[in-house]
Symmetry: C2
Subunit: 719 residues, 2 copies
């Protein structure tokens, strides 16, 4: 295998010698500057390709200062205030960070703002409130006493969210705040494009323009203590402005209200079941962003450079799994590989020449310090990513941060060399061929479908939240599993039914969220199509509160399919019987105690065909059911672990009724996995832990052998 290629190195000024050494050691063929560093000419010559980060909307702060009316905007909601007197004054900026945003006094509040009575849900007539520019307060006259009121108001963004975050986190002191300007203003757009053109002209050594990113940042709002107040990696709030809203009205033929953006203060988090208006907004912005980004890419191409997009920061509107993305014509996408899920989120992006993943840990002082464990973090990250890479690899890898920090940890430098070699080794084996998957596909069903491919149940890129880890584990398990995964929406089912090749549908999430689906489960087309499909042999897996919406005597609308329902208190009078079956196909590989994470209380069996496989503290946490020719599995949660990944795999095969086909490129030890590439006649067995593992490997049901794997080993064998 080659000792060079597929690796991008972050660089630093004044370290040319060390960089040369490390390029050699890690086999890097590309180098890039990080935010805040510049490449020296010496260094630029060491690599085949030089990446340069480019910020489209904040490179020219002079422009920003000269055009304060063309800065990016945002709708914010004031804190809910209770009217205790006949007049209520609301300090709308209370709780917000005045260094990040400032009230928009250019646009008429009476036209663009909204005062809402949150007790009654009514919009307050505009003559009944006033905004006082001097005090920053909205005064509501003739309020209803003890009702709760909010003000939805417009601000300008006067500090770019990423620069603010880095500035505050790294204590950049009096380094100027960068203000983001809005490409939707024709004048600003022209300036952005010509600045890019000029920069390309001047940056002759740059081979790859790494857009970081395009125009609109995901929603990140700080509070009055300069700490994070709101973060939504998928959030479109930062793309909103009166100009955009006016153009929306022209394009879509109707007007959005502030509440369409404010959404009761939830700001259309992806956990909210998306309303038509918000989906229209997404469509509108995607179209605009893709058209404008395309113009940027064309400039880059004109200068014979490649255009790469960072999947993060100002990525809003690009939507790599949306219908406008490929229109941009971007050459490559790079993103952070936090785990297997985020790896697949990058590697599955359609229509780009190559993808690249930035591995963890970042070379930052929080890990590269006396008490830090950079090698341990690198191993954890690599093991989680590797199983996903073997399913569908990113084309390139890299690291980020300050190289000098990494160089102080020689063991880390060694370990990264091994990881880079192993990454290249994978590519040298599989040669772009497809890993073995069974004949059926697994579909993850939620309100978002394809648009949120590998992005379900998440708040911010790979961040842990107590409320989500028991669902994110599903996606993480799937990211490295020998099955093809599709993300489908309720709309897909309504329009197109359930496609032929789908063997198992999974619905996972808390009641009322976009992931579980909320009132989509009242749609008779959805429930009858799924019932019909399962009855005819389909497999259905529910996790947490699948199909949940209290109606007509059921909480799980497909309780009949799942064989379980959840007790809300209404049916305590009904006796629940149920005994535990411990012997079952889906439990055969389990050696540890079952772990359902946050789990789910009050689940109970509802049908004679329900088999309860596990109860915890009196609640059913694992159950299976048969339904006509089909089957279903219920799990109370699925945090990621090798055991749970196996539990899911077995559940999938059982649900689809193909238990006898599971022992194909299969290992008996849950801490190991096997991936086969039949086209090239090779297969690989991996150890997902950092201790020795022994396992039986099944080529098929009749051909198996024992193997011992060293810690983290990947063993390539000929079929």
């Amino acid at each position: 295998m080659g000792k060079k290629g597929r690796v991008t190195l972050p660089t630093q000024e004044g370290m040319d010698k060390e960089i040369e050494k490390i390029i050699e050691k890690w086999g890097a063929d590309a180098i890039r500057n990080s935010d805040g560093t510049q490449l020296s000419d010496g260094v630029k010559k060491l690599a085949e390709k030089v990446y340069a980060t480019y910020f489209l909307t904040r490179s020219d702060q002079e422009w920003a200062k000269e055009h304060p009316d063309q800065l990016q905007q945002m709708y914010l909601m004031s804190n809910p205030s209770i009217a205790k007197e006949n007049v209520l004054e609301i300090d709308i900026m209370d709780g917000y960070f005045t260094e990040q945003v400032t009230i928009d006094t250019n646009h008429d509040p009476k036209e663009w703002w909204e005062v809402v009575d949150r007790t009654s849900g009514e919009i307050i007539y505009k003559d009944n409130w006033e905004f006082n520019k001097n005090t920053g307060k909205v005064i509501i006259n003739e309020v209803k006493k003890y009702h709760s009121y909010t003000v939805s108001f417009l601000v300008y963004q006067i500090w770019d969210a990423t620069q603010m975050y880095n500035h505050i986190t790294n204590d950049w002191g009096d380094k100027p705040h960068e203000m983001p300007y809005d490409v939707r203003h024709p004048e600003t757009k022209e300036h952005i494009l010509s600045a890019l053109d000029n920069w390309c002209k001047e940056s002759k050594d740059v081979d790859v323009v790494r857009f970081t990113t395009f125009f609109y940042h995901f929603t990140l709002v700080f509070n009055n203590y300069a700490k994070e107040k709101f973060v939504d990696w998928f959030g479109y709030s930062g793309s909103v402005s009166p100009l955009a809203l006016e153009e929306f009205e022209k394009e879509k033929g109707y007007k959005l209200t502030p509440e369409d953006i404010i959404d009761e203060g939830y700001y259309n988090s992806p956990f909210r079941i998306p309303k038509k208006e918000f989906l229209d907004w997404l469509d509108f912005q995607q179209k605009f962003v893709s058209d404008t980004a395309k113009e940027c890419v064309e400039i880059v191409h004109k200068h014979n450079k490649e255009a790469m997009m960072f999947l993060g920061d100002n990525w809003i509107g690009t939507e790599p799994y949306g219908k406008y993305f490929q229109n941009i014509g971007i050459d490559a996408v790079v993103g952070s590989v936090g785990n297997g899920t985020t790896m697949r989120m990058i590697s599955d992006i359609p229509g780009v020449k190559y993808t690249e993943g930035r591995f963890l840990p970042y070379f930052f002082p929080d890990v590269f310090c006396k008490d830090g464990d950079p090698v341990g973090e690198a191993n954890t990250n690599w093991l989680q990513a590797r199983r996903a890479i073997l399913r569908k690899p990113i084309d390139r890898m890299g690291y980020g941060g300050y190289l000098n920090l990494a160089l102080e940890f020689p063991e880390f430098v060694e370990r990264v060399e091994e990881i880079c070699n192993e990454f290249r080794e994978i590519h040298s084996h599989i040669k772009g061929t497809k890993a073995y998957t069974p004949t059926f596909k697994v579909a993850v069903l939620n309100s978002w479908g394809k648009l949120r491919t590998w992005m379900t149940n998440q708040v911010a890129h790979a961040l842990w939240y107590k409320k989500i880890y028991s669902y994110v584990g599903l996606i993480e398990a799937l990211s490295g599993m020998a099955v093809d995964v599709e993300f489908i929406s309720f709309e897909d089912i309504k329009k197109d039914g359930i496609k032929e090749d789908i063997g198992v549908i999974i619905n996972a999430g808390d009641e009322g969220t976009a992931w579980s689906g909320g009132n989509n489960w009242l749609d008779e087309v959805v429930v009858t199509k799924i019932r019909n499909w399962v009855n005819n042999g389909g497999g259905f897996i529910g996790i947490g509160e699948p199909t949940a919406y209290q109606n007509q005597g059921r909480y799980f609308q497909l309780a009949d399919v799942l064989g379980v329902d959840k007790e809300l208190g209404y049916s305590l009078s009904t006796d629940k019987y149920g005994f535990i079956t411990k012997d079952h196909f889906i439990l055969e590989d389990q050696t540890e105690e079952l772990d359902f994470g946050e789990s789910m209380k009050s689940i109970y069996g509802v049908s004679d065909s329900t088999q309860i496989l596990a109860m915890q503290d009196g609640d059913t946490v694992l159950a299976v059911n048969t339904y006509g020719k089909g089957r279903s599995v219920y799990m109370a949660g699925l945090p990621y672990s090798p055991e749970n990944s196996r539990l899911l795999l077995r559940s999938i095969y059982w649900a689809v009724g193909k238990e006898n086909e599971i022992k194909k490129w299969y290992t008996t030890n849950v801490n190991t996995e096997c991936t086969s590439y039949e086209e090239i006649g090779e297969f690989v067995i991996i150890n997902n832990t950092n201790i020795i593992q022994e396992t039986v490997v099944y080529k098929d049901e009749n051909n198996y052998f024992n193997v011992i794997l060293q810690p983290m080993e990947s063993k390539w064998l000929d079929i």
Copy 2:
């Protein structure tokens, strides 16, 4: 103190000598026959009063057999069935116990039954289904495929629920099944009344007619395995019949539908927020039951006997806390004392001459056996009841079951003697005077209010359920607490506001239940009145999911008052900050780890004034807030324990802002309590445990002393 009186003894045939001894020993002044036993003349002379159980609706099985069309009835719902073909056949009795109920073929199904599409919620037009008497199946034509259907149908009750339960539990073999007949039929009513009259005439030795009970049994339905299928101690299902429904229509001016009774299969469990139609039904039946029971009582009185009612079994429609109860003119109520709550449920009944409690354990073989611990159970029962008795005593006590079993346990006989003596001692001290309470009242707020006084959050009389014990603990703590408690409804608040003497309002329960209140919290009158009241100094305590109904950006509609809300997933993007304060007035007496039972996940602070006092596994479980001049406390649950009872007491005093008044007849050790009777100049200190306890006792803030209490001791002292 007297060594005799206030105690009722169960008797048995052929044990006259033993009975004489035990009457003497326990100081019994009344004896009664149990279900299935008869009193001998010898025994009858030993007591001042003789009770005899009387069953109004099943004493004459000849009558029942001769009038099968006048048996009691019931609406049942078939199992939900999924239509997988164009025609659906539903075996409506599937899952029911054919020995308990039989399909009513006398009344036209097309008029009285209902077939419901549970997928769409639509009622199926009556021409589109047929009932086949021979197969017991309903055939639905032209169904919508994969919709779910149920049939609401009428049955006759052919086995009295209590007799069935005892019969099956005690294996009574071929003892005939007793069928309950319906007093609503004029002919049957006349028969019931004249039979009672005759029986009174003949039963000259009987002083007290113990009605067990009146006409309608609480809902108790068995399944096809002769096991309990549905139990609701408050359920009115067994009071429904076409005759009653027709009379309802005449009286109330509109017709009930089967669905008003079936209620999606929840059968109007008290956890369901009661609909107007069901409340009207309750009113209608209460009126009828009270009128008819009154006639029975008058017959008893005519014979110079007392009329006593058992609070249980066929108690439906009596509603001791309802507006018609006192119309019955009953002399006494007797009920089972399962704990402090059920003790108060009996002792607080207004308008009767005396109340009586049947203590645990029953003299049944499950406890009175080799491995049983009758003394332990008696002690537990006594300690839980005693603290409630000291607040508001029942007038008499007694035991139930088979005396011969008890006599085999001499220690138990001794212990009961002590308990009887202590019970009489309490009465000899307090002489009907009122225990000390502070100037403010505590109100428990839910959908039922006064009607369910001491009956909140329960399924069946004092039975443990996983889903309720964390709420029932609230009521149990209050039952023995030095505060006056009122049960109020949302309607009360809407009509009358919050009464002057209420200091603290408590709302406790799961979202969507009658206890928490569901959509009552969308009522602007309710929320504004409570906000106003708290703002002006009221105290609000929320347990579990208080004020919960997802709307306008809030799950807890009074999140502003409570200072906390619950995360459903919509606001994960919003950062939650909060640190724990451990020093707080309400925690001062805690020595053990806090225990919130089933607890509540995803609770977080929403206001700067919120003080989080405890978190468990990352979730807020105890928090306090200030709101204007008022205060609030949030608890994630409150299972009963001495610690939690104290936590509640302190929360009440803190919420009402009277911390400086708590040390009045107060003990510092949570396992002890003090009750004072200022009118008689005495107070009592009790040890609620069976180990020695030491405590400081506060007469008031400046007068306190140390005391050591023996296990379970009650120590009476002069003020």
